[in-house]
C-alpha cells in the first residue's frame, strides 16, 4: 500500500463546515442508527465530507465529523486512515485510480502507467495545472475489460496508450468523454470473435438428454437385461424438450453483439456505434437509476438444509428450527448450538448466565 500521510499544515484549510444539503444528509445518516450508536455513520459522513472538500479530507473535516458524531478525534482519524478510499492529501480535479493488478498488468497496464508518469508525474502528486493526480490501486474488479482506470467516480476500460492519452487530453480540455469501454464494446461482452461454445448443436436441443440416450444404448447392448432395465426404468421415455428461453444469450436473435456480428461476417463494431461512442453529449449524460429498489436481492434456489415447510425456493424459512439467520449471536438463537445441548445436565438458559 502506498504511503499516505496527512496533508501538511500549510495547505490545510482553517475550517470546515458541511453545506446545508450535506447537513441534511448527515442528519439522515445519523437517524439510521439507534440513539447512542451515531458513530456508525462515520464512513458516509467522511465520504460526504471528502466529496465536499474536493476529493480529500482536511484535518478540520475529520474533526468536524468527530464533533457531529460525538466521537473522540482519534477514533475518526483511525477510520479515515484505515480506508484507502479516503484521501488525506489534495487530489487533482480528475483523480485517477490506476489498476496495476495482474489481469490489467497482463493486458498492458504498464504502458498506461508510463503515460501517467509522463503526463501527470509521480503518484500522489497533483499535476501543475491541478487537473490530474493518480494512484496505483489494487484490483477494481473490471478485469475483463483490462486495462482500466477509475477517474473520479467512473471506470474507463479497454485502454490503450492512444485512447488513454486522448482521454486525458479531452478531460484536460474539458471535452466530454465516454465512460466505460473506450473501444465501444458493451459491458464485458467478448471482444472480437466468439471462440467457444460455437457448435450449433449445443443450441438446437439435440444435446439435451444425450447422456441418457447413450446410457440406454449401452444398457441395450449388454446381454443381462434385468438390472439394466431397472436402471433405466426411471428415465422418461422421451427426453425433455429443449427450452429455447433458457437464457443463453447467443440463442436470442434480439442480442445484437459484436461477437454475433463477427460470426455473421460483419464488422464487430458498427460505424454508428463508433459515432455514438465519441458523441460526448450522449456519453456524459448521467442516467438516473431506474432499478426498482424494492426488488429483493437474488437468492440461490438451492438449500443445503432440508426444510420440509419450504414455502418458496430459496427464501429463508422463519420457522426452520435448525437454521438461525446468519449473524445471530449464539445467545439469541432459539436453541443452544454450542454443543451443550447434548449434555444431559445443562438446562437452556436464555440469559446466557453460567449455569
Amino acid at each position: 500500500m502506498a504511503v499516505r500521510k496527512l496533508a501538511p499544515e500549510e495547505i490545510q484549510p482553517d475550517s470546515f463546515t458541511f453545506s446545508s444539503e450535506n447537513m441534511a444528509f448527515v442528519a439522515q445518516q445519523i437517524a439510521k442508527y439507534p440513539p447512542g450508536r451515531q458513530a456508525s455513520a462515520v464512513i458516509p459522513l467522511l465520504w460526504r465530507a471528502q466529496e465536499q472538500a474536493g476529493g480529500w479530507l482536511p484535518r478540520k473535516a475529520i474533526e468536524k465529523v468527530a464533533e457531529l458524531l460525538d466521537m473522540p478525534h482519534i477514533r475518526v482519524m483511525e477510520v479515515a486512515t484505515f480506508y484507502t478510499m479516503f484521501n488525506l492529501e489534495p487530489v487533482g480535479k480528475y483523480f485517477i485510480q490506476f489498476c496495476g493488478t495482474t489481469p490489467c498488468a497482463l493486458r498492458g497496464a504498464g504502458d498506461i502507467k508510463k503515460v501517467l508518469e509522463r503526463r501527470v508525474g509521480e503518484q500522489n502528486h497533483v499535476s501543475a495545472d491541478g487537473n490530474f493526480s493518480w494512484l496505483e490501486v489494487e484490483c477494481l474488479g473490471a478485469c475483463c475489460n483490462a486495462p482500466m482506470v477509475q477517474i473520479n467516480d467512473d471506470y474507463y476500460e479497454d485502454l490503450t496508450t492512444e485512447n488513454f492519452e486522448k482521454l486525458l487530453d479531452d478531460l484536460a480540455a474539458g471535452r466530454p468523454v465516454k465512460k466505460g469501454s473506450q473501444v465501444g464494446r458493451r459491458s464485458s461482452e467478448p471482444q472480437g470473435d466468439v471462440k467457444t461454445l460455437t457448435d450449433p448443436h449445443l443450441y438446437d436441443g439435440s444435446q439435451v438428454g444425450a447422456w441418457r440416450k447413450r446410457f440406454e444404448e449401452e444398457a441395450a447392448s449388454t446381454a443381462s437385461a434385468g438390472e439394466a432395465a431397472a436402471a433405466t426404468a426411471s428415465a422418461p421415455s422421451t427426453p425433455k424438450p429443449a427450452k429455447p428461453e433458457a437464457g443463453r444469450a447467443i440463442e436470442s436473435e434480439a442480442a445484437d453483439t459484436p461477437a454475433k456480428r463477427a460470426k455473421e461476417g460483419e464488422a464487430p463494431i458498427s460505424q454508428t456505434e463508433r459515432k455514438e461512442a465519441s458523441d460526448g453529449k450522449r456519453a456524459t449524460a448521467v442516467e438516473a437509476r431506474t432499478e426498482d429498489a424494492a426488488k429483493p436481492a437474488p437468492q440461490s434456489d438451492k438449500s443445503y438444509v432440508a426444510t420440509p415447510s419450504k414455502p418458496s425456493g430459496g427464501a429463508p424459512t422463519p420457522d426452520a428450527p435448525s437454521t438461525p439467520v446468519a449473524g445471530t449471536p449464539p445467545s439469541d438463537t432459539p436453541q443452544r448450538r454450542d454443543g451443550s445441548e447434548s449434555k444431559p445436565d445443562v438446562t437452556l438458559d436464555k440469559s446466557n448466565k453460567p449455569s
Binding site: 500500500m1 482519534i74 482519524m77 454443543g339
Partner: protein
Amino acid sequence: MAKIIVDGVEVDVPPEYTLLQAAEAAGAEIPRFCFHERLSIAGNCRMCLVEVKGAPKPVASCAWGVRDCRPGPNGEPPEISTKSPTVKKAREGVMEFLLINHPLDCPICDQGGQCDLQDQAMAYGVDTSRYHENKRAVPDKYLGPLIKTSMNRCIHCTRCVRFTTEVAGVSDLGAIWRGEDMEITSYLERALGSELQSNAADLCPVGALTHKPEAFHYRPWELTKTDSIDVMDAVGSSIRVDSRGREVMRILPRVNEAVNEEWITDKARHIVDGLRMQRLDRPFVRVNGQLRPASWQEAFGAIATKLKGTDPKRVGAVVGDLAAVEEIYALKLLMESLGVTNIDARQDGTVLSPTYGRGSYLFNTTIADIEDADAILIVGSNPRIEASLVNVRIRKRWRVAPPAIALIGEHVDLTYPYAYLGAGPETLTELLAGRHSFAEALKGAERPLIIVGQGALVRPDGLAVLSLAAQLAQSVGAVKEGWNGFSVLHTAASRVGALDLGFVPGAGGLTAAEMANGGVDVLFSLGADEIAVAPGTFVIYQGTHGDRGAHRADVILPAATYTEKSGTYVNTEGRVQLANRAAFAPGEAREDWAILRALSDVLGHRLPFDSLNALRAKLYEAYPHFADFDRIAPADVASAVQALAGLGGSAGREAFVSPIKDFYLTNPIARASGVMAECSALAQERRLVAAE
C-alpha cells in the same frame, strides 16, 4: 460450571471462562501479548494458540469460550491441549512473524529484562531469521513527558489503546493506518491527558512504550524490591519501591484487588525524582532571620529554650499529609506530656473528627464495594484528581452497567457521564427534601452510595453539609444491614490514621487554622506544608523537603520520606497498611519517631520507647486495630451517621470547590519533582485550551 479437559487434566470452570482462563485454572501457562485480565479481549497477537480436539486448526485461547467448545461424540467434556507439538509449532510461527519487524535492540532497550517478548522468545523463538527484506520502520511518537516511545518495537497488541480508552477513560490513543503500516499514536501526537497514563507503559509487553523519566537509568535486575504503600493520596495504593543502593529508582504498582487493582497514578509513580531533590539533610536554625545549618544538639537546644519560657496553652502541634501513624502517635504522647491540647492533624480545616465515631470519617463502603453500588451521589469532590483510583472503580462500575451517577460540586470531566445536580449545599438540601429527580433514583436504589469529598467539608459550614449528607444517607436507606453507603473521601494519606489516634484539639484546644493565625507562640509542624503560619509564631518544622513549611520554619528537623522509613498508613477506607523502608534518608536526616524520641529526651519528657518495635507495642496496646494490617476494623456506621444527622446546622450557599487545585503538586515531594512540574504545566495548558 462446565467441565473441560486441559492437557489431560479435567477441570470444572464457569462456562463463560475463556480457554485461557480454563487453562490457567488447570495449571497450564499460556503465553500472551494482547490479552490482559482487566482489558477487553482483542485476540490479535495469536500467541495464545491452543489445540482444541475436533477443531481443524489451533484457536486463540483468549477469545474462545469454554461454552463455545463442542463436547466429544459421546458427550465427553471438550478437550484442549496447550503443550502439543502442533501448539508449539503454531506459537513458534506466531513468534517468528512477530520478530520479523521487531528490532534486535534489546541491549539498548529499557524493557530488557522485563520484556514479555524477550521471555517468550526464549521459549518459542528461533535463533535465526528467515526474513531477508527490510524491517518495518516507524517514526517515534510524542505522547507527553511520561511515556517514551520507540515504535519500531511495537507489536500492535493495542493494550495501551484499550487501557486508555477503557480504564483511564480518555480516548487519546488509537491505531491509525492499517496492516503493516499500522501505528499507535495519539491524535496529532498530543500529550496524553490522563492521570493514569503511565500504566499504559507498564502494560506494554515490549519496549515500545517505556517510562520516559526513568529512561536508561537502570536495569531491572539491579534493583532491590520493597513492597510498600503510596502516600500521594488517601487511597493507599499498593506499590513496589525499587531501589539501587540508597537511591529509589522507580515505583511500580502491586496488585491489590481491594484497593488499586494493578494501577497507580502518575503522581504515585513519578515522584521518584522528588525524593532526591530539595531534601533537608541536616538541621537548620534561624539566626537573625537567616536559616543556618546546625547540629541536632543545637536544634534541640533552640527548641528547648523556646519551649521553656512558653505556656503550654500557647504551644501547638500540626500534622501534615504524609506523616505515618507512628510519628503522629509519638508527637501526641510528647504533646500530652507537655500538657499541650492544641493539636490538630487537619491542616486543610476539614470538619471530620473522631467525636462522631469512626464511621463518620471513613470511606465505609470500601473501594472494592463501589462495584456493587447501584446509585452514586458525589458531593463536593472531584474523585478523578482527589483519588484517581476510586474514580477508576466508579468508572469500572459504570462500564459494567451504568448506574445512576450524580455530582454536586464542580462540573468536571470524570471520564464517565453523570447527572450534574448543582454546585453547592442548597442542591443537597433540595435533594434531601425530595425536590430533585435524582432523589427518586437514590431512594429506588438497593445499594445507594453517597461520597462526601473534602470540597464539601473544608469550609466553615462543613459540619452542616456533612450533617445534610448523613440525613440524606439515612433517608435513602444508604446505611443498612449488609451495605454501608455513606463514605467520606479523604485526600491526605495521614488523615485517617491521625483521626484514629484522636489527633484533634483536646479540651479548649485550638484548631490548625487558629494556631496558624497566631493562636500559639510555638508551633510544631510535622510536615505540615499546606498551611500558612502567621508571622510571629516560632515554627519547628520536622519534614523532608525545603518547601513552604521549611521556608517559614525557625528550626528545621530533617526527617525521612515514606520510602525511607517503616510506617503505618491508614487509607480512606480505614485499611491499615504498612509502608516499608526501601532506602535511607540523606545526610543527617532521621526517621521521624526517632527525632521525636530524641527531642523528648532534651525536653525532659522522655518518651517510653527506645525502638520502633517498642513504640509499636505501645501503639497496639492503646489502639489494637493498628496491628491488623491490610484489614479494615469494623466501624459502627449507623450510629455515626445518626450522630452526624442529628447535628443539623445551616449550610451556606457557596459552591463546593475541590481543595486540590493541581493534581500534580499536592505535597512537598511532588513539588520537588521536575517530572511533576512538567506534567502540571501540561495539564495547565490543557485546562486553558479546554476553557477556550
